[in-house]
């Protein structure tokens, strides 16, 4: 499946498994032992409908008890909202840490086995996912992004409508809670 942005079209053989069903997405997260949720600046720079993108992501993090890595300037908005982040690295720095299987993770409990991205600038996220695909075989990656990411292990299909995107978040939150 072609990602939304032409710049992210894959030139390679190993491409993401598309997960259309939030039930399945939630199930993958639940099976992980030490997941990490990476939030990029699109989450604070955009709304989905009338609600800040970040609020949807925080709902997911809360429902799944996912530690957060706030990249770029996301920490500031979280702080204004009274939410403490588990860590604040920039995107390249956190990927550089994740490459090392011996890294102890943001909670110092061992490296993460599942990395989920949302709101990272799409062309940059795709490069970061490529790094992890090639150099971090010890973990799996999920791109919770409506524009779809072929270099992730698991990706969404392209979701063009805001309402469908909201529905996906709602479904994911509901299934992470259950």
């Amino acid at each position: 499946m072609k990602p939304y942005w032409d710049v992210n079209v894959l030139t390679g053989t190993k491409t993401a498994k598309i997960v259309e069903d939030p039930v399945q997405w939630a199930s993958i997260i639940k099976k992980s032992i030490r997941p990490l949720y990476i939030l990029g600046p699109d989450t604070v720079d955009r709304n989905i409908g009338d609600k800040l993108f970040l609020e949807y992501c925080l709902d997911v993090a809360k429902a799944g008890n996912l530690p957060i890595c706030a990249t770029a300037h996301v920490r500031k908005k979280m702080s204004e909202m009274g939410v403490e982040t588990d860590s604040a690295y920039d995107i390249i720095e956190i990927i550089n840490h994740l490459k090392d299987p011996e890294w102890q993770g943001v909670r110092k409990e061992g490296n993460h086995d599942l990395i989920m991205f949302t709101g990272v600038r799409c062309d940059l996220a795709e490069r970061g996912l490529a790094t992890l695909k090639h150099f971090a075989p010890h973990l799996k990656t999920m791109a919770l992004c409506r524009f779809s990411h072929p270099n992730a292990d698991f990706a969404l299909p392209v979701i063009r409508k805001d309402t469908k995107w909201q529905e996906y978040f709602d479904g994911l939150v509901a299934n992470l809670i259950n």
Binding site: G12, T71, S79, D90, I92, E93, K99, D123, L124, G128
Partner: protein, 763 residues
């Protein structure tokens, strides 16, 4: 291959005893390899493959995904490193060939013994050439010697990228660093040649403010547009116009670095803008004649010139466009071919090309209509949009082009106007449009026609300026030198460059700019209507904002750092690369920012700065370069020697600078990080206080309350803590169990690895 010592000394005029010859004159690829490897031990290569396959030879395609090797045995990391070297070599060869052409041309004009005189303020005329090669260039012929050395190195570097050659990523990286070093060397030679040969401004800081912006171009006059980086042809146009009293009657303007260099020749010339405005401006039809020279010129200029009704003169053997070479024809005949037969031509003689351009523009301009599309017509065209959004999907800057066009069709102008500010005008959106909507043309109706000012390029930093700021830079009381360089592939438009520069100038950093970044910075006005070029002083001083000039003038930024070591600290510089680079890495708080880097040249430049020990911050698009140099501050090797005692420090030393090449996603995060990357291990307590004061203040401004989670790593003793945050920081340090540690007396990496460098030189 071992070098002949006598031959080396002959090339660098070893008998000329301005300084003793250091350990590495005319270094080959492996002569500085140990320095590279020491850097790479701390700043490890980080690869982000853009493509998982290798298509380099007929064994392939080979899939290198996740541990697989190619038929030749190469793995993905080594393949990425090879790509990076190839790209660095492309960049190096572009600058090197540019330098070669300019130097040969100017030697033909003035003779090889033409003296290099950079004015009363510049005695150390070529800090890079002196330090790398051991040569002190005095005449144009010496600059040819520099280019010959660069060419020799380039052959070996390119050779190593052939299938079945180099097989380890670290050695590819050493070669990339070597290519970057040669790149800066070639650039220095090129810029010195043009300063000397064209009498560009030198030894003055207060260079003229020139007009900037497409709205500044007077379309009622004949307009000649130069695109590229080699100003020889357009300078010839200036000469022709001046000699024939026509300067008032013809508009000369430029896009990209040629614009910088023509305004150094004549402050009446104007700057249209950076390279991202190329297609947009050509399609506006304002230019009567387009002169292309070399580098960063669109490959479809002939087609676009025809479409716009402009004449085209290609002038470089690098860009011939399949055109007829008319160099040997008489000028009258060429003018006739262009004006009457409507031919596009290739003229390889810059003087001839310059005169032809002027005569053609004067001849054809009266017959050309130059009307922009009006809003009403543009909206009518936009109404064809069916909302398919294929244009948006094609956008390399991830813009919602389709939505903007659709809203514009409905009468909403602002969104498209904002989109234009972020647009590279590459035209990919139009290619995808099933309705063939001329999106770039429509943007004429919404693009601001405001005019701006940019300070023209000043060339080298003056020796006297270095003497004045050397001490505060090394002690840390001037918090840093921040250099905004490179191309215009900005994630969020020109505004971010102006904002970043303003933030650091206000905080009394020394802010330097060059190339497209200098133009972008000028395309934003403050509330009082002033650009950054009108707001701050032009000297190399705290709070100064300088434009060194075009791409090749980037060499003067590295040159300034070298001069701090050589002039202020009196380190012997001649053929003494490692000592000078070590000094810069550990003691000169400089940071490069290539926020919109797109080209192979920009990669080579950045890599060259890295080898000198200068960290470079890149914007998000630059992840596509595939390689960065990153450390992990709490895990990597920060061991260092105290040069005074020549003993290794036995405790943790701060990770400064933390990275050598890093991509950062947002302007806000970049600003905070740049302040941190100006910290050096040599900072005095007062200097460290000042730097940390900015780091903390910027963190609070852009990242929210609290402190950076690595703050404690940069505090050696309580005297390092900024007074303004003293109580708050000391409470925080107590809470996290921070313990004071020693300051390194004379931080150095020399002798921590096998080297011919002499540690006595750094004392």
């Amino acid at each position: 291959m071992s070098k002949n010592k006598e031959e080396t000394l002959k090339i660098i005029k070893g008998e000329d005893a301005w300084e003793p010859v250091g350990p590495t004159p005319l270094p080959d690829i492996t002569d500085l390899r140990n320095w590279s490897m020491r850097l790479l031990k701390t700043y490890k290569p980080f690869y982000a493959p853009f493509c998982d396959l290798c298509c380099n030879c007929t064994y392939g395609k080979c899939d290198l995904t996740a541990g697989k090797k190619g038929a030749c045995g190469i793995d993905i990391a080594t393949h990425q490193a090879r790509w990076v070297l190839m790209q660095c070599c492309m960049g190096l060869s572009a600058h090197g060939a540019h330098g070669r052409h300019l130097i040969d041309y100017l030697i033909n004009k003035h003779g090889k013994d033409y003296k290099i005189d950079l004015g009363l303020q510049v005695d150390v005329e070529a800090p890079i050439i002196r330090t790398v090669m051991g040569l002190k260039p005095e005449i144009l012929g010496d600059l040819r010697t520099v280019i010959e050395y660069v060419e020799r190195g380039l052959i070996h570097l390119v050779s190593s990228t052939h299938t079945g050659q180099e097989g380890h990523y670290l050695d590819f990286e050493n070669k990339s660093l070597h290519a970057g070093m040669l790149d800066l060397l070639a650039m220095e030679a090129a810029d010195i040649a043009q300063i000397a040969g064209y009498n560009y401004p030198t030894s003055i800081a207060d260079t003229p403010l020139v007009e900037l912006g497409w709205g500044a171009i007077d379309k009622t006059k004949p307009v000649i547009l130069a695109i590229g980086h080699n100003a020889a042809p357009i300078n010839a146009t200036i000469d022709y116009l001046q000699n024939n009293n026509l300067e008032d009657k013809v508009e000369v303007c430029g896009i990209c670095c040629t614009a910088h260099d023509v305004t150094r020749r004549s402050d009446r010339a104007k700057v249209v803008g950076h390279l991202a405005r190329q297609l947009f401006f050509i399609r506006c039809g304002i230019a009567d004649v387009i002169i292309t020279d070399e580098q960063c010129v669109r490959t479809d200029v002939p087609e676009e010139a025809t479409r716009a009704g402009a004449s085209l003169i290609a002038t470089s053997d690098k860009i011939c466009y399949g055109l007829e070479d008319v160099t040997e024809k008489e000028i009258d005949e060429i003018v006739k071919m262009i004006t009457e037969e409507k031919k596009q031509v290739l003229i390889l003689d810059p003087d001839k090309a310059g005169e032809v351009a002027a005569r053609v523009a004067i001849a054809i301009a009266p017959g050309r209509k130059k009307e922009f599309i009006n809003e009403k017509t543009a909206m009518k065209l936009a109404k064809e949009c069916n909302g398919c959004n294929l244009c948006s999907e094609a956008c390399p800057n991830l813009l919602s082009v389709g939505k903007s066009v659709k809203e514009f069709a409905d009468g909403e102008v602002d969104k498209l106007s904002e989109t234009f500010k972020l647009c590279f005008t590459c035209g990919k959106c139009e290619q995808k449009c099933p309705k063939n909507i001329p999106i770039i043309k429509i943007m004429q109706a919404v693009a601001t026609k405001e005019t701006y000012k940019m300070r023209s390029g000043r060339g080298p930093i003056h020796d006297v300026e270095i003497r004045q700021v050397g001490s505060p830079i090394v002690l840390g009381t001037i918090p840093g030198i921040v250099a905004f360089v490179g191309c215009s592939n900005y994630p969020k438009g020109d505004k971010e460059i102006a904002e970043m520069m303003d933030e650091f100038a206000r905080r009394k950093y020394i802010v330097v700019a060059s190339g497209c970044a200098a133009m972008a910075a000028g395309m934003v006005k403050d509330k009082e209507g002033k650009t950054i070029w009108e707001k701050y002083p032009p000297g190399f001083e705290a709070g100064g904002v300088l434009n060194v000039g075009s791409c090749v003038a980037n060499s003067h930024i590295a040159g300034a750092a070298i001069k701090v070591a050589n002039i202020f600290a009196k380190l012997p510089g001649r053929a003494n690369y490692e000592c000078i680079a070590d000094y810069i890495l550990n003691r000169v708080g400089a940071c490069g920012v290539a926020w919109g880097a797109y080209s192979q040249k920009a990669l080579a430049i950045g890599t060259g700065f890295n080898r000198w020990g200068v960290p470079v911050v890149l914007g998000p698009h630059s992840a596509k370069y595939k390689r960065l140099y990153l450390s992990r501050k709490e895990e990597d090797d920060w061991n260092i020697m105290d040069g005074r005692t020549e003993k290794m420090m036995d405790e943790y030393v701060e990770p400064a600078p933390e990275h050598l090449a890093i991509v950062i996603e947002s302007k806000e995060r970049a600003i905070v990080s740049i302040a941190k990357y100006c910290i050096r291990r040599n900072d005095t307590p007062v200097g460290r206080q000042i730097k940390l004061n900015h780091y903390i203040a910027l963190y609070k401004k852009y990242m929210g309350e609290g402190f950076p989670d690595d703050l404690h790593l940069f505090i050696r003793k309580p005297t390092d803590v900024p007074m303004f945050f003293k109580r708050e920081v000391m409470d925080y340090l107590k809470k996290i169990g921070w313990k004071p540690r020693q300051q390194v007396g004379l931080p150095t990496l020399i002798n921590t690895y096998p080297t011919k460098a002499n540690i006595a030189d750094i004392k």
